[in-house]
């Protein structure tokens, strides 16, 4: 089925990007052509054909708020970074989405509007976390792009929040790209707390150089429909990546998340730990794949997925996969989904704790290890509180 793009012409893109440098205009037009040629991939359990983020429309620019920026780092709104002609942009922007072409990725690269650029200079180690909040105000379609570049040996913590004004029914078609130079280390926390009617498509890509380290701490609570796929390329020897993904879906929320670790470097290691909580009629489709390519000798890739079901109507599909093309590796997965143990609830209630508070404690205990590495205590507690406030009987 051809997805129509008749509403979006090269002339419109050219006008939309009129103030941008020619390399970017050309890329946008190239991406628009690719979007025309590529059909929208059909997702069996999450049909996207009717989702707002597939609209071939020109998006609004999301608001971006940046916390304190320290010496050695640059954090700026992407439109500003483009206007200032920052060198890394041309080199990296959209590069990680060129592998494995996809209609929505191409559409995003043709139409992205604003976002943020974070750069940490070579060898710099930031004493405190960088913080960015991306907000949806008014509007019906947003397409922010987040680009994070850590040069060789740089170390940083970054916290990104996705939020919007209450009642928003907007769609988000965004993207995150992370490039870590040799020996760089990033602890990336992302907290998705979009309003309850938002539909979000939010893929992430990362590339790790030799001995680079990346920790994704991803916490999803918001949006009516949230679809993301996170793909980490462990290109350098000795690189390490870890995903700590937590999510909480309630009411009729629908989540489809996938995490893929692609091992290319020898001795690269990855670990995916995902824990989800579902209540009401929420549904989550969760998949993980550890891909170990030829020559990634002594690589190791592990996955652990657990979903806690607080209601009988909630539904979880867990799809763990391994794709291994090298002999000397270690890899494996464990996945489970199950209800709260009624004996735990009984025990807590027998101490006077109310039924709803008992469930909160169980959820807090279930998610504690995934939130423990969020760098700022108040952010960590705020995220935990928002998770726990969702618990309903």
């Amino acid at each position: 089925m051809a997805h129509t793009l008749v509403d979006l012409t090269p002339e419109q893109i050219a006008a939309f990007a009129a103030n941008e440098p020619s390399w970017l205009q050309e890329r946008r037009l190239g991406a628009l052509g690719a979007a025309h040629d590529l059909p929208l991939a059909h997702r069996k359990q999450t049909p996207l054909e009717a989702a707002g983020f597939t609209l071939p429309a020109l998006p609004q620019t999301a608001s971006v708020t940046v916390g304190d920026v320290h010496d050695g780092a640059e954090v700026m709104e992407l439109t500003q970074a483009i206007a200032e002609g920052t060198a890394d942009l041309e080199r990296h922007l959209g590069r990680l989405f060129s592998e494995g072409q996809d209609h929505l990725h191409a559409l995003h690269l043709a139409t992205f509007a604003g976002g943020v650029l974070c750069r940490v200079k070579r060898g710099r180690e930031l004493a405190s976390p960088l913080q960015v909040s991306i907000g949806l105000q008014g509007g019906s379609l947003f397409a922010p792009h987040v680009l994070v570049v850590l040069e060789e040996g740089a170390r940083a913590d970054l916290i990104v929040e996705l939020q919007g004004e209450a009642g928003s029914e907007a769609a988000v078609r965004g993207a995150v790209e992370i490039v870590l130079g040799d020996g760089a280390a990033l602890n990336y926390t992302e907290f998705q707390r979009l309003p309850g009617r938002v539909q979000a498509y939010w893929p992430r890509r990362a590339e790790l150089g030799r001995d680079a380290r990346l920790q994704w701490i991803l916490a999803d609570v918001g949006a009516r429909l949230a679809v993301s796929d996170t793909r980490t390329y462990l290109r350098g020897a000795g690189s390490e990546a870890r995903v700590l993904a937590s999510f909480f879906g309630g009411r009729r929320q629908h989540f489809e998340f996938s995490h893929v670790m692609v091992h290319e470097g020898a001795h690269s290691t990855s670990d995916i730990e995902a824990r989800g909580v579902l209540q009401g009629k929420a549904r989550a489709i969760y998949s993980a794949n550890s891909v170990i390519r030829k020559n990634a000798k002594n690589a190791s890739g592990w996955q652990h997925e657990h979903t806690l079901m607080l209601s009988e109507e909630a539904r979880a599909d867990l799809i763990p996969e391994l794709e291994i093309s090298e002999w000397e590796v270690s890899a494996g997965h464990a996945a489970s989904a199950g209800p709260v143990d009624p004996m735990q609830i009984y025990y807590m209630e027998s101490r006077g704790i109310t039924p709803v508070e008992s469930r909160r404690l169980i959820v807090a205990g279930f998610l504690a290890s995934l939130l423990a590495d969020i760098p700022l205590r108040d952010v960590r507690e705020q995220i935990a509180d928002i998770f726990l406030e969702k618990v309903e009987l």
Partner: protein
Amino acid sequence: MARLELIIEGLRVGIEGREIVKGFDLTVRGGEVHAVMGPNGTGKSTMASALMGHPAYEVLGGRVTLDGQDLLAMSVDERARAGLFLAMQYPAEISGVSNANFLRTALNARRPESEPVPVMQFHRELKAKMESLQIDPSFAERYVNEGFSGGEKKRNEILQMAVLRPRVAVLDEIDSGLDIDAVKLVAGGVSQMLSDDMGVLIITHYQRILNYINPTNVHVMMQGRIVRSGGPELATQLEERGYEWLREELGIDEPLTEEA
């Protein structure tokens, strides 16, 4: 505070359609220690679980009041806040939730939302109570019952009782799996708390713990009801002569080893 009064009248309890407790009567008042003894499978633990409101047990009849309130009409957490405490034989493990957090949440559930227990004061009191029960201070931050030995779980139950200060504590086989030093500690912990404000119901198979907590009343339960009541001397008699003697005297000829 008025003297505690727990009145159980004609309690009948079943599980999966089978009646286990068949008309149980008992009154416990503040300052009293009642021991309910009996062979395995006579319904002692079923009675205790039904008092607390265990979801697997069904109350088929009878009436229970705690300080005049209808206990059986309450939910499990309401019973606890009304002052009932059950030290369980097999307490649940709760991963990711520290003992201290668990207990603080339980205490706060008894207070108005705007007046949570001050954190420093809570930790001071918890530490003191742990010391008196010879519980290692590291247990405050360990996850509830996770990786605890049988004996550690039992001591943890008594610690919870000491912190929550119930009106009536039901100790279900608190002495099983404990060595003699631990039995003394647990018994000491219970005895310390006794007053007109609090009564204790000890469920036990053995007389051993009664050497360290002096019971005011001893009851023998067989086939789902109390068949004999007396003072501390009844426990001594049972210790010397076993349950067989009483069974013969009462003309009960069903086997005693029915499943619990």
